[in-house]
């Protein structure tokens, strides 16, 4: 028996498919490209600076943390780039650059690396970064510029469509607001000509990116469909069948961005389909409740955050039994144990 040193001896399987973590992250970046490009067109070149700052500070803080914690480097998996980019798309175009950088540092250092790095964080890092900025700098984080505004991002500050809907008093209807010119038209909503975060406004670009992720099988349709479907259902009831109101609620705020790009984050969503549906429905309910009853026009970030925390419990109740496991016969009442 000769031992052939040239032969590799390893456990089966001896084949691997071509999907890699880096490839998945790259796909997410590609899918975010239309929304990023739309942000540049709608809000001007300042958005590029914001994206550059969030991505660069995400990479830098990841590099420094893994060096200090003496962990293997993870820069090449592109996950920090994704976090930085998603955070940027969640910020107003007028955000001071240093604030944007703080958001990235919080996302990477506190939320991701402190909890064990890639795949171990229990809430979405970009989302947490946004929320930290939101509660720390409420003024800067609610300074919405209208898209395609003349005179740069500092020029006009307006209320978002959702904020307008929130203040919808008795007697005024959605169509009246549109007619008065205070609400953008539906077509403008779809194309992104309205105030809002850099990346959330252009629904067309987001859907394009979401479709790309679905086609590439990076995400499963369960979460976005359950999420958007639940919001649609509740808003249909809340608006007493007003389809106009429904359309504004679906396209307004960060729902599409959140449903396709943030709620679907692997580390912070359930890994099986049943759990994903429950997760999506939960996000939808909380979003709707915040929008309808809370003192805020928008609820996507908080709803995903809350559901992120519930993921271990969702996974526990939706745990699938191995193939063919027999259902335990129900114990009859009064039966001796």
């Amino acid at each position: 028996m000769t031992f052939d040193k040239k032969l590799t001896v390893s456990a089966s399987p001896h084949l691997r498919n071509g999907v890699t973590t880096t490839g998945i992250m790259l796909d997410v970046i590609i899918a975010l490209f239309p929304a990023s490009a739309a942000a540049v067109i709608l809000f001007g070149y300042r958005t590029l600076a914001v994206m550059a700052v969030t991505i660069a500070s995400a990479l830098l803080s990841e590099y420094i943390t893994v060096k200090i914690l003496k962990k293997p480097g993870t820069l090449s998996d592109l996950s920090a780039v994704v976090t930085g980019l998603i955070l940027a798309l969640n910020l107003p175009a007028s955000i001071p650059l240093w604030m944007a950088a703080i958001g990235s540092v919080v996302a990477i250092v506190v939320v991701k690396q402190f909890f064990g790095g890639l795949g171990q964080n229990y809430v979405n890092p970009a989302l947490m970064g946004r929320i930290v900025l939101f509660v720390s700098f409420p003024a800067a984080m609610s300074k919405w510029t209208n898209a395609l505004a003349q005179g740069g991002v500092e020029a006009v500050t307006t209320a978002t469509p959702l904020a307008l809907l929130k203040d919808l008093g008795a007697g005024t209807s959605v169509s009246e607001l549109t007619a008065a010119g205070s609400l953008p038209g539906l077509w403008q909503m779809f194309c992104g000509v309205r105030p809002g975060s850099m990346g959330e406004v252009c629904i067309a670009a987001l859907l394009f990116g979401g479709l790309y992720l679905l086609v590439r099988k990076v995400i499963s349709p369960a979460i976005p469909f359950a999420y958007i479907g639940t919001v649609a259902l509740i808003m249909l009831i809340a608006g007493k069948g007003d389809l106009n109101f429904l359309a504004y609620e679906i396209m307004g705020g960060g729902l599409i961005l959140g449903a396709f790009f943030m709620a679907t984050d692997y580390a912070t969503s359930p890994a099986n389909t049943k759990g994903r549906i429950i997760f999506g429905i939960g996000c939808g309910i909380i979003t709707s409740v915040i929008r309808l009853f809370a003192n805020m026009p928008e609820g996507v970030s908080f709803s995903i955050l809350l559901m992120n925390i519930l993921v271990p419990h969702i996974e526990r109740i939706t745990a699938v039994k191995p193939f063919g496991t027999l259902k335990e016969p129900k114990k009859k009442k009064g039966e001796a144990k």
Partner: protein, 450 residues
């Protein structure tokens, strides 16, 4: 689609849950098995089956004929071993098996005559017991790769009723084409084997399950089914979508009958008997000739093999000898496999004897190296989606790594059949099958403690 309209198929073959799509690479599909010249020596390990190893019944220096019994065991789960060449027993020693275990073995030097042992005669069979004994005497083990003694499988445990025989022609592992060739080249043996097994075991339904990437074999089997024993006892051919691991016992039972075999249970619990097509054909040949299992067909393929082909060789032939007769290595192999690329064993060298259950030898050059850098789990759920046994491999891997049996136990890792789908699909390159094995060994350790 046209296949479904003929009415022979009872059930539209739905895409099975889980599994992965692997490239088929059935390069040797057009090549009938070629009989190789007898090797100068054969080494017959005493452990060529699941169960108790055999004890030699010959001595060094004995002259043996082809097909003569040389080793047997008293234990129920075992299969006797026969001389695969005629010649002289030169050594009773030890030899490494593909999985690294050292097994006692008998070495026979061939006299080059392949002289049949005088005692060989077709077995006389009247009852089911005779039939099962005959199958045991033939030394047959599952030829599809598992190597489970066939007589144990055929002997339905009391209290269980088997009403369906599934002939497994799925051959879902890439590269391997021997089962496909068996259908085309020995179709009458297949039919005769089916009829015999059905008759002696009193089985009502016979389903031949085949993947849709073998249209010629489907046609041949349908012709066969149409000509079968009699009109009432028809044989059904079910065409399944090609998907790995369609040929796994529990998966194929579910695909063709809709029945589920619970974890830890046997196919008989679902009323099914699954047999590899080559095993079925062998039963027919054995009953006709009385010649036990001494040779088998296998696929020799892979990018490092100069002339890929299907060959028929005596059991115990040195793998290096087989590769030499397939033109040797075209390039330096980086990996040498016994079995398919998904479940096969990587060998430490070419000097290992061929076992009864080995259906392929594959050698790959370094260009075909498929590895990924191992990164942390991102919980993407691809392993969960790929697992045909509905397990959660990433969680099992995590608790196996952290030695947390309390959390591991409810995940049911023992249902894992190590098909490799999870590791194939993992984007982070985590060796999930190894973790599954670790988890399974943790289960058996705890079992032993009880």
């Amino acid at each position: 689609m046209s296949l479904k309209r003929t009415g022979v198929i009872r059930k539209a073959a739905a895409k099975p849950r889980g599994g992965v799509a692997v490239a088929h690479h059935k390069n040797t599909a057009d090549m009938p098995a070629e009989r190789l010249p007898a090797p100068p020596t054969v080494i017959l390990p005493m452990q060529q089956h699941i169960g108790a190893p055999c004890e030699p019944v010959v001595k060094v220096g004995d002259t043996v004929g082809l097909g003569q019994l040389i080793a047997d065991s008293e234990r129920p789960v075992s299969a006797p071993i026969h001389a695969s060449v005629s010649g002289k027993v030169t050594a009773i020693g030890e030899t490494p098996l593909p999985n690294g275990v050292i097994s006692p073995s008998i070495t026979i030097e061939s006299d080059g005559e392949m002289r049949l042992f005088e005692g060989i005669a077709p077995p006389k069979i009247e009852t089911k017991e005779d039939f099962i004994k005959a199958v045991r005497d033939s030394g047959l083990v599952g030829l599809g790769g598992a190597g489970f003694p066939a007589h144990i499988k055929l002997n339905t445990p009391p209290g269980k009723e088997v009403d369906t025989l599934i002939v497994n022609v799925a051959e879902c592992e890439p590269f391997i084409t021997v089962d496909y060739r068996e259908c085309l080249d020995n179709s009458w043996d297949v039919l005769s084997g089916i009829c015999t097994i059905r008759e002696f075991l009193g089985i009502k339904n016979v389903i031949i399950a085949i993947e849709d990437n073998k249209p010629l074999a489907v046609e041949e089997l349908k012709k066969l089914a149409a000509n079968s024993c009699n009109a009432k006892q028809n044989i059904q051919v079910t065409v399944l979508k090609s998907r790995y691991p369609q040929g796994a016992e529990k998966v194929i039972i579910h695909a063709v009958t809709g029945r589920k075999v619970p974890p830890g249970k046997l196919p008989a619990d679902a009323g099914c008997l699954v047999m590899n097509v080559a095993s079925v054909a062998f039963v027919a040949r054995y009953l006709k000739s009385g010649k036990p299992l001494t040779s088998r067909s296998l696929t020799v393929d892979g990018s490092a093999i100069a002339e890929p082909k299907n060959v028929r060789v005596p059991i115990g032939t040195d793998i290096g000898y087989i590769i030499e007769h397939c033109g040797g290595f075209k390039t330096d192999p980086y990996k040498l496999l016994m079995g398919g690329p998904m479940m096969g064993l990587a060998l430490i060298g070419p000097n290992i004897p061929l076992l009864k259950q080995n259906n392929a030898i594959l050698a790959f050059s370094a260009n075909d190296r498929r590895t990924k850098t191992e990164r942390p789990c991102i919980r993407c759920g691809r392993c969960v989606k790929a697992c045909p046994m509905l397990l959660t491999p990433f969680a099992i891997a995590r608790f196996a790594r952290t030695d947390n049996f309390e959390k591991l136990e409810p995940l049911g890792a023992t249902a894992c059949m190590e098909c490799g789908c999870c590791a194939y699909a993992c984007p982070s390159g985590i060796p999930l099958v190894q973790y599954m094995r670790l988890a399974k060994s943790m289960h058996s350790e705890q079992e032993a403690k009880k």
